[in-house]
Symmetry: C2
Subunit: 480 residues, 2 copies
């Protein structure tokens, strides 16, 4: 049984979307392992630059004009476009590692290391044919489908992922990821599909003009497709890229979306394409502008400290990275995102009047624009609508962000429901039946925490609850 | 309710030992949060160097001649001894941050940064008074004690923790941690107690003489107390400091023990003290010997890459670090262990004939001495005896180590049963009743995985199973 799964980094949270909830018991052991086996990749066949197939789809099986084919062409075109733009500015070339897998799919990782402008820049494309346990599928689609223990649902995933770290502390790091996920028709249920992605920027200093350019580019992109999207997706980005133990976002945001399937597939594809086609425009002019800016030793040191934070986010919180590390994806592609150099200085302090402090104020108040913000904000991240069912599910961390500058961030529930662990199986199944209840439970818990910690003064205070990027307001009473 | 918990880094896995398994349901929300609140520290009162109290115990409540008092004096003496030895070699001084907490306990963190010999060296002591949910206590002691939902069991913990990163790639990094944990008498059950700790070394190159000195020092220490300990504790160290996604141990081992309470308390205290008193002797002569060794750019780069691996282990796998990050300990003390500088080079390759490859061979075969080793070894880490009950529990990651040089490492069950998540509560409770079953389940699962991956050729093959450092051999049939 050589089922495949996402090369996790390139696919990012998609991989998570297809995560698993095996059963307990004697049979469950097999199931649990099968699940894990499902995410173990077949050994790749590395291919030379000239031998990379025009398409990584299964020849003669997948229609090149299907969304699979169209999405693959789009991301491969974007890989070429982005790499060309970077090479032009940098003057050095990307190296390429490409592979195919016997049962279909493959990957193309391109990395430019120790260039003139970038210390490390990577752009990876990956196409995966895999199968997920029926249980996970059932959870994902939010329907009570009868199935046999060993049933598996085939899926397809394709994604592009990139991180670029420049040398100059005045040039920001940039990350993007665009992905498409599809399941086959199964037990009379039509195939499910969704899109995910985003582009975000991580400077070391606040340059308002640069930020206006970057965010403005994506606002314009979003507005061309749905005027409500930019605000939602910017908020989702701040939510996702939070480093709770630092009380900071990783960087200065951008846009982030996941499980997007609420309208015509072509429309979301057009949006994803538009986002991807604006990566270069949103980012490269900023680097061009600053690549020769002079900088001091202090500024370089500050950049290295911020690089350390980047590593903290990616290794401790990033779903794609953690999933990849724990399931045996290609390590070099997964960790391509880490900077060439990083630093951890004990109790690093900055001049309270200096530009480093200005930056910190910014990443510590990234949610200032939030509708549910304030010093008593509860955020339950990633409570998402299941594709095409409308049910919500809760699959990530919840925390209270206390914006009172006490830096109080409080983990309510550092767990993911949809994991490959038998231990979370029951909860996942219960979640199916009553995930709203779980969300409310977490919310109630957070309120108790807020009261306990003195963030909220009164147990009967109500907190605004922001559930994933599907913003919602919940008001929960605490009976002490 | 201002209950306290371990400043996680100094206490290391102790903190984990007191981790939690709240209930589901409406009441569970409160419970879950209370649990988390329990691990939120009271705001510390920072105190100047001259004001650090002679004891961090509660004056007038704790007997200075109790094990609490003796252990605190021991670790504070060790902190002085180690810091003095490091300062003597380095020529620079440690800075100190110390604090007390209103309800008792406190911490003393000392860091020497950018010295002459060490880029970063930290030694932290911490004393904590806290309380754990009765549910967690019940799990920890392995008895079916009736309790009320809101019951909490008071505990005391004290620990010392340290990491030292030298500049010179020929000088190894060293880490140690010694800790003592105690619960109060509760519901007629006498207070529980246990010791944990270890010292381990992480060079960048294999120097057999140095390793003989380091490991020999600890073998002699162990042998003075129990001739069976050294092998067990060295194996436990290799198990604990594994980086599964790299197929490497973090370094070259040492000793590691946890939940140690199988004999007279004074005897284990004497052993812990002996271990701690040999830190300087095991390590400092190695640094003295190599601190002025010349090194090349390539060697420095290799050190930086190994530092990256150190960060990967600490942020992705180290129980103390993760626990600390997610529960709001003092971040600067928790992450004191991270190196001043680290590097991630894409697809870093070494000369197959060079000393870097020799090092890799070593960390990729750290278990060569293992009784249950071989190319089809299954390791379920950290299945420990619950203190004073003899029941085993499974609380960490299981994986297959394939020593066939294919570098195949396979996550069976990347979960911790004893977490603060409601989702793992049921499993934790089931675990109480039948943890052996769960271990067998994981073993069976791993075998299926092994077969699936072609590591084992025949489904009916039996694998040797090593459960934590309580070595055991399990033979499990797979009925396909």
């Amino acid at each position: 049984m050589a089922a495949l799964v996402a090369q996790a980094q390139a696919l990012g949270p998609v991989a998570q979307s297809s995560a698993f909830a095996p059963r307990r018991g004697a049979r469950a052991a097999r199931s649990a392992v099968r699940v894990q086996a499902a995410v173990k990749l077949e050994a790749p066949n590395y291919v030379g630059k000239e031998e990379v197939p025009e398409s990584l789809l299964r020849p003669g099986i997948d229609d090149p004009n299907s969304m699979r084919g169209r999405f693959e062409r789009m991301i491969r075109g974007i890989q070429d476009q982005v790499c060309a733009a970077i090479e032009e500015v940098d003057g050095c070339n990307f190296r390429q590692d490409a592979w195919t897998r016997p049962s279909g799919g493959g990957g193309i990782t391109r990395v430019l290391q120790e260039g003139n402008v970038w210390e490390k820049a990577g752009v990876a494309v990956s196409v995966v044919y895999g199968s997920m346990p029926a249980e996970s599928y059932r959870v994902a689609v939010g329907r009570d489908i009868p199935f046999e223990q060993d049933d598996r649902v085939p899926f397809f995933a394709a994604g592009i992922s990139s991180v670029m770290h420049p040398w100059n502390p005045h040039c920001p790091t940039m990350h993007f990821n665009y992905r498409y996920f599809e399941t086959e028709d199964w037990k009379g249920i039509p195939g499910q599909w969704w899109f995910g992605g985003g582009t975000d920027i991580t400077p070391c200093y606040v340059n308002e003009e640069d930020m206006k350019h970057f965010h403005g580019t994506y606002k314009a992109v979003c507005d061309r497709h749905d005027p409500a999207w930019y605000d939602k997706m910017k908020t989702a980005c701040d939510d996702y890229f939070l480093i709770p133990h630092r009380g900071e976002t990783r960087g200065m945001g951008g846009i982030f979306f996941d499980d997007l399937n609420d309208r015509d597939k072509d429309k979301i594809f057009a949006f994803s394409t538009d986002c991807a086609q604006n990566i270069v425009e949103s980012y490269v002019p900023i680097v061009k502008k600053h690549k020769t800016d002079p900088y001091s030793e202090r500024q370089k040191q500050w950049q290295q400290v911020r690089r350390g934070r980047y590593v903290e986010f990616n290794l401790v919180y990033d779903r794609g990275t953690i999933f990849g590390l724990k399931t045996g994806g290609r390590i070099e592609s997964i960790l391509m995102s880490l900077p060439l150099t990083a630093s951890w200085r004990y109790d690093h302090q900055v001049d309270p009047q200096g530009p480093e402090q200005k930056f910190l104020n910014c990443v510590r108040n990234a949610r200032a624009h939030r509708p549910a913000q304030g010093r008593r904000t509860l955020v339950v991240t990633a409570a998402k609508k299941a594709p095409q069912s409308g049910k919500r599910r809760l699959d990530a961390t919840g925390y209270i962000v206390d914006n009172s500058e006490r830096g109080n961030i409080f983990a309510v529930e550092p767990k993911q429901l949809y994991t490959s662990s038998p231990t979370s199986d029951r909860a996942a199944r219960q979640g199916l039946g009553g995930i709203q209840g779980l969300a409310v439970l977490a919310a109630a818990g957070a309120i108790v925490a807020a009261v306990t910690l003195g963030i909220a003064k009164n147990p009967a205070d109500t907190l605004q609850v922001c559930v994933g990027w599907h913003l919602g307001i919940a008001s929960v009473q605490f009976d002490s």
